[in-house]
Symmetry: C2
Subunit: 344 residues, 2 copies
């Protein structure tokens, strides 16, 4: 791979001149400039970004760590962040923690070694690496958390208005005539989940529906386990609707419905957080709470870039909450008389 020196020799100028042509920071006369550009083309010269970064200590690189690329939400976040990064001349590199704590630590360390100038982090399940993050921020590498907001961490974050979104979803179910609304949720250890629970309670309270603790199943994010709790709940408590606070949980619930031969919305109403996929093409189409994933990524990257641009500013953590929207489809339509006998 050719170097700046090779270009300089071929063009018959000094390395300084070539550098000036590349960066444009210092004017270069037209004839020399032309010769340099010709030499660059001739040698297929690609400036060594590594050497450049070493000297300038600027990599113009942002990192994003997501727990699972195969959940549709995260690619959207990445695209948003990438868009913002590109507008500022930055490159975004995406890596996957596989929802593993150790791997996440390793990736943070790698990104730090690679001297990413800032990091977007959607934390993996389990305890968040608070100490590591704090050290990075102290070392001058800003970190912005997206989606999941770790407890006990003072840092910038961008996510959705969890409680409002949950409240709207549950209010919608109530309006549609459902009363015994079960809440299928993820681990209470996650702040987002607690916030969504809050919205659920608020909606019930405002509709003067008594809270029934046995209709709330906090669980893990394993789709199969969720399906099991759902089966269990339907045997004993007979809810007439389910609100799922996240996609894996929602899928688990749908799986249980299938096994129980329950139809939506005839037998049971259903709303879930997050688009499960192309929900509108299938029947019954699923009513979902849609998170503004692209915007979350975009805003998060913007905050990060701002921090990078003004590193000396005092760090009052910024916490942006974007509104979600309810996309009403079939699974939450008003209850109707079933046309033929079903178990219920």
């Amino acid at each position: 791979m050719s170097t700046i020196k090779a270009v300089a020799d071929l063009a018959g100028v000094s390395v300084g001149t070539v550098s000036h042509v590349m960066t444009g920071s210092v004017p270069v006369s037209e004839p020399l400039r032309t010769r340099v550009l010709a030499a660059i083309r001739e040698l297929d010269y690609h400036p060594n970004h590594i050497a450049r970064s070493l000297k300038t200590s600027r990599t113009r690189t942002l990192g994003i760590i997501v727990p699972d690329l195969t959940i549709p939400f995260f690619p959207q976040v990445i695209r948003g962040a990438e868009t913002a990064a590109r507008e500022h001349g930055y490159t975004l590199i995406a890596v996957n923690s596989d929802d593993s704590g150790p791997r996440q630590k390793e990736l943070l360390s790698i990104l730090r070694s690679q001297r990413a100038e800032g990091i977007l982090l959607a934390v993996a399940a389990g305890p968040a690496p608070v100490g590591q993050i704090t050290r990075m921020v102290q070392a001058g590498i800003p970190v912005v958390c997206v989606d999941r907001i770790p407890d006990r961490l003072v840092a910038d974050s961008v996510s959705v208005q969890d409680s409002q979104a949950a409240q709207i979803a549950v209010e919608h179910l109530i309006e549609m005539g459902y009363r015994r609304i079960a809440l299928a949720m993820g681990p209470l250890a996650l702040k987002n989940e607690r916030r969504r629970l809050l919205g659920y309670r608020r909606a019930l309270r405002q509709a003067q529906i008594a809270l029934e603790r046995s209709l709330i199943w906090p669980g893990n994010l394993n789709t199969a386990d969720v399906a099991a709790s759902c089966l269990e709940c339907f045997q004993h408590r007979k809810p007439d609707a389910v609100f799922a606070t996240n996609a894996p949980t929602g899928l688990g619930v749908l799986r249980a419905f299938r096994d129980l031969k329950l139809r939506t919305p005839e037998d049971v109403g259903f709303v879930t957080f997050d688009e499960l996929s192309v929900d509108d093409l299938f029947s019954p189409a699923v009513t979902t709470v849609v998170q503004p994933a692209f915007d979350i990524g975009f805003r998060a990257a913007e905050i990060l870039l701002e921090r990078i641009a003004q590193p000396e500013l005092p760090r009052d953590p910024i916490s942006v909450r974007l509104p979600a929207s309810l996309r009403v489809r079939d699974t939450s339509r008003s209850r109707v008389e079933p046309c033929c006998a079903t178990q219920n």
Copy 2:
């Protein structure tokens, strides 16, 4: 951010010794080693990967460029590639070309400047950057193409056995009793699409069904446009089944079915390449040709790493074709008498 020199000073040794402790390439006595490790911890030292790369000219980094992260296929490929990379101590960085030719060129250039040691490329739509790829390979940066295989390019590639997969899918439809099988496909400019067409023709020929040209609609990969062609075709040619050769096309067809109020499989049979999503939860569940996306990524990365490990080997391009599998669900079940009157 602390440097190796700071560590050396704190531990009271030379920078060379610290380096030896880090890399383990030269033995270091226990007492010194302990002092060095303590100093590293004390200073929260993270070796500057940039300086290291500059010196060793090894970045231990692989790049992957995909056209669209939000298509579920690609995240799977990335996970496969990442797994293989990690096994060899490499980090994979993923970037998104947004299916834009210029952006793809730019990303190739960036990855080259960043000195990625090898590149996995799922080419964007439009003409492939053959020249650029060839120059990279000549410069010693191996490139392996995944999924889409550009014409006119002599390079390693990993993708699916297109024609066999298509043939199996169409044979399945024939076996289920469908005869007028339409082929909804992407641009003929793509080699994969031509291969899938081949499989379709082979299946028809073997079943002695005459090929009807008007049942084949090559198109672009725009879901809305596909839906339009589909409407058109159903008005004039009345196929009794449709095989879609890729996911966006498949979605377009389903959208048209919805608009035409056609039910599957009662009114029309349907099989598509690629999982559309959680196809099995909805009704009717979609019969799909499942590509081994993870394996494609994994094998591609392995080939890449092999090339990197043995750069001087002559480059007979390796072309791996992995088998796809047919996941039979509802939309291709045998035709049955409709229970009530439907348009047909």
